[in-house]
Symmetry: C2
Subunit: 116 residues, 2 copies
Amino acid sequence: MKHDLQIAETTCDGAQVLAALAALANPHRLRIVARLADGERHYVSQLAREIGISRPLLHLHMQKLLEAGLVTSRLELSDDGKALNYLELAPFHLSLTAESIRHCVKSLPAPGDTGE
Amino acid sequence: MKHDLQIAETTCDGAQVLAALAALANPHRLRIVARLADGERHYVSQLAREIGISRPLLHLHMQKLLEAGLVTSRLELSDDGKALNYLELAPFHLSLTAESIRHCVKSLPAPGDTGE
DNA sequence: TTCATGTGTAAGGTTTTTCTTACGCATGAA
DNA sequence: TTCATGCGTAAGAAAAACCTTACACATGAA
């Protein structure tokens, strides 16, 4: 069985939780995720039109979702030879509670720490 | 029975979800929440010392948590007459999935909309 | 070739967030 | 009074996020 990206439950990597939160804390990116969850397949130019934002802007937001691991991308060749970049949701479940936060904050680098 | 601030499950106010995400998407604020969940009571000057940040900085982050409704504050008078501002966690449960996001994005104002 | 489609990214400006320093005001104790 | 504690907030710098415009490259079709 394939597991979802279970965030903040058992694994509890503070940095990962933080990345997911930052990635989702934006209206455009929430809309992107929402679209990608509608059962259809979407490539980036198409998705940009659907959401009503420019392609470079979508690319920027897409990048954050990719880096957080919430979205994956796959380049495909269409029938007429165009290279289409299809986006897919990485199934995730972010479950946050004061208690779960208390737990996963322990794995956060200290305030002045650079993580080295 | 008193309910938690159930975010993104049934209520699904897009703006509220967004506010909660933005409020939590910061390492200092995660630490604040974590501290407030340790069972002790904390007033702001004390909390700032515990976390290791300046009081004005804590005040700033505190503000975001207050506005998102994740934290409440209550002014109390100590035995020696000082006014202490005690912070408390509003019990919350943020459960986010692609599907739940798809649902609550519907209640988000349109991209160019100012919400009026 | 020219056009319409797709891909990416760099440069620059605006806006927001983040943080520090410096105020001002109140209290009780020394 | 002076000091240590608590409270809040304003002003300005620094950093990060956000967004637009413009570029470069590829393909198939007209």
